[in-house]
Assembly symmetry: C2
Homo-oligomer: 579 residues x 2
Amino acid sequence: MSTLFLRTLRDDPADAEVPSHKLLVRAGYVRRVAPGIYSWLPLGLKVLAKVEAIVREEMDAMGAQEVRFPALLPREPYEASGRWTDYGPNVFRLKDRRDNDMMLGPTHEEFFTLLVKDLYSSYKDLPVSLYQVQTKYRDEARPRAGILRGREFIMKDAYSFDIDDAGLSASYQRFREAYVRIFDRLGFEYVVVHAQSGAMGGSASEEFLAVSDTGEDTFVRSPGGYAANVEAVTTVVPDPLPYDDVPAAHAEQTPDTPTIDTLVAHLNEAFPRDDRPWQASDTLKNVLVVLRHPDGTREPLAIGVPGDREVDPKRLEAVVAPAEIEPFEEKDFAAHPALVKGYIGPGVLGVESVSGIRYLTDPRVVEGTRWVTGANVLGSHVIDLVAGRDFTSDGTIEAAEVRPGDPAPDGSGPLELARGIEMGHIFQLGRLYAEALGLQVLDENGKLVTVTMGSYGVGISRAVAAVAEYAHDDLGLCWPAELAPYDVHLVVAGKDETLVAAGDGLYDDLRAAGLDVLYDDRVGKVSPGVKFKDAELIGVPRIVVVGKGFADGVVELKDRATGERVDVPVGEIVARLTS
Amino acid sequence: MSTLFLRTLRDDPADAEVPSHKLLVRAGYVRRVAPGIYSWLPLGLKVLAKVEAIVREEMDAMGAQEVRFPALLPREPYEASGRWTDYGPNVFRLKDRRDNDMMLGPTHEEFFTLLVKDLYSSYKDLPVSLYQVQTKYRDEARPRAGILRGREFIMKDAYSFDIDDAGLSASYQRFREAYVRIFDRLGFEYVVVHAQSGAMGGSASEEFLAVSDTGEDTFVRSPGGYAANVEAVTTVVPDPLPYDDVPAAHAEQTPDTPTIDTLVAHLNEAFPRDDRPWQASDTLKNVLVVLRHPDGTREPLAIGVPGDREVDPKRLEAVVAPAEIEPFEEKDFAAHPALVKGYIGPGVLGVESVSGIRYLTDPRVVEGTRWVTGANVLGSHVIDLVAGRDFTSDGTIEAAEVRPGDPAPDGSGPLELARGIEMGHIFQLGRLYAEALGLQVLDENGKLVTVTMGSYGVGISRAVAAVAEYAHDDLGLCWPAELAPYDVHLVVAGKDETLVAAGDGLYDDLRAAGLDVLYDDRVGKVSPGVKFKDAELIGVPRIVVVGKGFADGVVELKDRATGERVDVPVGEIVARLTS
């Protein structure tokens, strides 16, 4: 440590919110260069290399073959797949000196597809699975949390190529098993959830999430074993209700009730129900947003949800991708005078309506359900508006928030919500890219068939942060043995020549035994206290202290994670650490 | 090989000129994605990893510490060093979604400097040497030769940081020794030459060149051991000559002599000398070019060289960098009516002259030398124009070509010329970046001093091509053992079940013995001839053939490079290959 390129910091970086970001910077693993763009210092690079090695080992073991694509990519293949436009502002685009359009690759589906097309031509060549460990780029709107969500990051991405659906299923299964092995080795708690495949299309889709309170992703799980990310949860659709006995809809004065709470209070005061009080869930809230499509066009959209639920921005984003969500602004209200803010009802919504605004409703709004909703007049709501009788929408949308206790779609019980970090994503991509780019091979009968693909990603640099997020305490990082930058952290606690000589000797002995040792040989003003603090912060799993006990022939062996300390005779410490 | 992601190609790629480019593509090591941008296929990636490993081992062994910077970099540090502008069109620039200027890093001097500034503050922290293995970008005007000169490439770059010049010299020497070890291991013929440090400034500067007829760089060497790249060769300046007896300059009619050859012929016919015939070296040729400065401004420049030498574009480029060279066009002649094309002489050149064009002359144009040169009149030249008497220039310039037989600047004999590929560059950068970016530390007396730096680069991806360029023959590649993608290429030459079973068994035995084996287990239409051809093309150093001799208990062991074949008893082949 007297020569290691490392300075630990006492203070958290100003922009850090989550523990992994604070600790990886403070302990000298990474250093910020620009928003969402980091340098790796020696300690960080060692952990990163270990994550890479685990992923490579498991990919090689399952028969995937490593290649490496460039990061700087020409426009044409992205144009052919439609993604040059679909990516919108989320990628880095540039021009070269000859004015050619280029992109810094956020993913490489097109190029894997073209490479297989380039080299292979027969069903005999398949299946094949290829992967790369490579630097990728996304121009995140809000880069955050250090290397957890950066703009330049390292991913392992892989693709399987099969002649038919059965082959794809088999390849998918093999990757899934390899992923379980990878995530078991990475050493954090994780969960495999059903997922939407987002902008990428495709069918079967699962995410590997690191369970973490600071995670950006919300997932659900049920007692019966259902697990999904919140974007993938489908609403259990109730049966239609009979409505022959429901009175005709009637508009009522509801002054000063622009919110659901004020509306429910007013209803209970002015129009009390016989059976029970009015609830938020009796109301139908109509939320307006604007979709910005990748080509730049803006499309207003109205979403009807039960008044006790918010629209979940992430679920909405997932369902409208590649379009992005923008607020419905004053200018949009001005353009649609039929919309009375706070009192908007289905009567002015829908492509056939006066506003022409597309109107999608929550799947719970089934035929026969009765709603209180806006009457499209200031200070007025309609009561007893029956879906299917008094209004229809242009379709349903899975955009309402999922709440604890909601039923799992597979009937496996009530859902609980938790947070996680997306660490891996595997999904059956199908023939989307093969069709767009013409990847066909001859089948057994000499007929050209389109290849079907699977897509399998792991966040390599993100995994370093995810492990740090999982394995730390108030004092610092606590790396699992397989990912730690060193096997042992050796501290000489004192300036005494005998201690220093003992430390030097032990350092040599431990290294001779094949251990990778971080040796705190700093002398001068660095006190034992500072050394201990640094050792806790850096987080090597086993700390050996040559200190007071040395006179009695013992060194202290400390387990970083549990804090457990034992005195070990000097002569036994090497054997103890290598056993 | 029945499952390896590989297709060898019979034909050279259309755009390939040099052997390494042809062979690396044909043998399935790399594949083009865009001009100067390549993907690495499994075989190529294995060789690349071996080059990386050699470089890392030698860097670690000499005590340099590995870090990794991003490739996508903010503008500000480049602005502070002046390189945002200096790079001109040779880099990729882009804007992020917030309109921030960014660059894809061609080198990282600024960021290494800032990182050390960020973490270190005292002379006690120094010396320190840092390196990275990283993907870099240059928007080459003419990407060529496959991965030999690409726009996205992998480099190891390193920097040393010292408190004083003596420290820098010591660091430089340690890197130089490590470089010798690296290049000895890479296995191609190389030479260490004095070099210009180009746009980067600095003093001591050496290049490691792979000797290769197809190299882009020309270097010189003398019998006495002088070696330099052609840009770094300094002209041996002759002593001034007495000119008291030289007649006054006199203009003569020389119609239709716009070239040196026509001029010399005319002189010998119309104005024959007594002592000897006129030679091209008696004439002074004035060459016009335009410098385009990084800020976009154009500056005309006149260069006077003896008529028997051309201006060498590379030497000129090096000396005017960061300006670039453009042709002096018709519009430039139009802007300077005093210039008579083909008959331009010193009389109209120089910043004080009628044209105002800066005029630099070859160092051989010393005081007292006599020249025939343009009279600035169509069809007329001046004879007996004496430097220092009849004209002066604005200075000298090292832009004339170096020719075999020219004297070495250190007096070590006549130079011979050869070609090479620049593989490494080490130089004493000095305080340029530390001053620009404020990298100072406290010295022993508590005084702030500016740190001095060395810069040390190796082309990692280029090394793969350089080895291929060196180690190949008409049949294909011939990798040295340390870089070969596999240790052994095992071929089953026949479809006979006994042979196949023997091949399978041998494959297992060789792998069990720790060898990395490429096993050509292809059956069906792949003939032994095709397998042999592929083995020659791919270039694994040792080829084992299980074929005809197997019935007699032997397999054939072939040395790829020498072509030597021996029969080895089956029972001895593993021992033979592992010994």
